[in-house]
């Protein structure tokens, strides 16, 4: 596709305003994110120490994230954002288009920022094959690089890295859990969808236990045994996909 007229993108008020907003926020918030960054870094360092010291190269593959059939995927199925598609046949032939960096905003004054035009360059030559992709929407197929040679498990449980979801059922409704496995260990577990009759806040304490214990064996919650069981079931199902 030729780019034709170079008037394709005209610098405009909103584009400039959005850049200015991001810059203003970034400038103002940089110091504030430092604490969050440090906190995360500490956590991750701790997790690493606790787990496999061998440096792992290669890809942490996205693994199947699929809502269980029969469960309506509406509501909050954003969890299934990225989904692998290792079937190369579905990959369209690339049309290589290179675009230069977008608007550069010079002055830090957020209000009156000069809109910068966004330029595009001529297409570069097409390349033979593409394997990496990202999608915009829930269940669209995404081709992530095929999982690089799986690093041999050092210690016992060793799940495959990725993000997994599973549903647990109870008579009061269903719960979907999302479990993130990093370096063979459970990095986090969250309630990704709560379809129970009662608020899932009654089992707030359970998700962190999954990572702490590296196991779906969470506490019972008096008065919310059904929800706790459903969460347990959801984590078990999610982890079964990580085997």
């Amino acid at each position: 596709m030729s780019k034709g007229g170079s008037n394709k993108k005209v610098a405009n008020k909103l584009v400039a305003a959005s850049c200015a907003t991001v810059l203003a926020v970034y400038t103002a918030g940089y110091a504030r994110t430092q604490s969050a960054a440090n906190r995360i870094a500490t956590q991750i360092a701790a997790e690493r120490r606790a787990s496999n010291p061998t440096p792992q190269r290669g890809v942490i593959p996205f693994t199947e994230i699929a809502t269980t059939p029969g469960v309506p995927p509406e509501a909050l199925s954003q969890v299934a954002t990225s989904k692998p598609n290792r079937d190369p046949s579905t990959e369209p032939r690339p049309v290589a288009i290179e675009e230069s960096a977008p608007a550069q905003i010079a002055p830090a004054t957020s209000a009156a920022v000069e809109p910068s035009p966004i330029e595009t360059q001529e297409p570069v030559s097409p390349a033979p094959q593409v394997t990496t992709s990202v999608t915009t929407s829930a269940a669209a197929p995404v081709a992530m690089p095929a999982p690089a040679a799986v690093v041999p498990a050092q210690a016992a449980p060793a799940w495959k890295d990725g993000v997994y979801t599973g549903w647990g059922y109870s008579r009061h409704g269903n719960i979907e859990a999302a479990v993130v496995v990093e370096r063979g260990r459970i990095a986090s577990a969250t309630i990704s969808q709560c379809r129970t009759r009662y608020s899932c806040s009654v089992i707030d304490k359970l998700p962190p236990q999954v990572a702490q214990r590296q196991s779906p064996e969470v506490d019972y919650v008096s008065g919310a045994t059904q929800s706790a069981d459903a969460f347990y079931g959801a984590v078990v199902e999610a982890l079964s996909k990580a085997k």
């Binding site: 991001v22 926020v25 288009i97 593409v130 990496t132 669209a140």
Partner: protein, 297 residues
């Protein structure tokens, strides 16, 4: 190739950095640190802008009607941008639609399932014009009781801020529940491939794009049900199944996709053209409308 996923802002956020240079330990640490900071933005912005915590700055603002409330730079800028888009779109995008979404059942916290209730009763005709900014004092005044929903703006803003943290790496991708920012090229040195899912068939692509240094965001009627409300009619628009916008930033793309979704296929495309961004709108009958400059792969 470093890639990391975390659950933030009620969704899973994945950041991938492509070939971070020499594969040395030192380099890996630098990428790690940048990723920490990038994820930090999501937490930071969420903590200010969430409607799901009474202590958030946004909720505090909503609790003080008629009072000029000093706002943090982040909240102030997010609101300012939301109002700008509201103005530009003639109210098709309106951040004060929040409470009406509660009425329609969009009052559940994504992760905990907690139900939020805002203890205010807005008039039927509240709009973004009931929010006033004082650029000198950096205060926000709600003229009437209303619920601000910064969802679309906040997530995109976090993506854009995170992208700035990762700028030194040149080639990276951020996926925040469908808000994408794709920088540079993928592992093959090609522009990133972005599939736009078929609005009705979950495993099919409707179209695909090649993008580099652009954000892509799709508003669909499928992902969370009818989650977009036409602020002008308090109903979910029906003329659009999905609206995708390609723009220099995720905040812009997300807000404009929402507006285009509400405006409908023809008006929506004209709106995007006027703003100088690219887009694709699909109707429930699977008709496609697109801007001329959109390059489908």
């Amino acid at each position: 190739m470093p890639i990391r996923t975390e659950a933030v802002m009620g969704t899973l956020v994945t950041i991938q950095v492509v070939r971070s240079g020499a594969e040395s330990d030192a380099n890996a640490a630098i990428v790690d640190h940048a990723m920490d900071r990038a994820f930090g933005w999501f937490q930071e912005i969420e903590s200010l802008c969430t409607r799901f915590s009474a202590e958030s700055e946004l909720m505090q603002l909503m609790a003080h009607v008629g009072v000029p409330m000093p706002a943090s730079a982040i909240l102030y800028e997010a609101v300012r941008f939301a109002l700008l888009v509201a103005e530009e779109s003639g109210g098709a995008f309106d951040p004060t639609v929040g409470l009406r979404m509660e009425g329609l059942g969009f009052n559940r916290e994504h992760r905990t399932g907690e139900i939020v209730r805002t203890a205010i009763t807005p008039g039927d005709d509240v709009s973004f014009r009931d929010v006033q900014l004082d650029p000198g004092r950096k205060t926000i005044t709600l003229l009437r009781p209303l619920a601000l929903d910064l969802g679309a703006v906040a997530k995109g803003l976090a993506v854009d801020a995170a992208a700035r943290e990762l700028e030194p790496f040149k080639d990276f991708a951020i996926d925040a529940g469908g808000d994408l920012y794709l920088a540079g090229s993928n592992e093959q040195g090609q522009p990133w491939f972005v599939g736009i899912r078929h609005p009705r068939r979950a495993h099919e692509l409707m179209a695909s794009l090649r993008v580099s240094n652009q954000a892509v965001c799709t508003s669909g009627d499928y992902e969370r049900g009818q989650h977009i409300v036409d602020p002008r009619q308090e109903t979910s628009p029906v003329a659009v199944a999905s609206a995708t916008v390609v723009a220099p930033g995720a905040m812009l793309a997300d807000a404009l996709a929402t507006a285009a979704f509400v405006l409908g296929p023809q008006e929506g495309i004209h709106f995007l053209i006027r703003l100088g961004v690219e887009g694709l709108i699909v109707t429930p009958e699977m008709q496609q409308y697109q801007t001329r400059g959109l390059r489908l792969a």
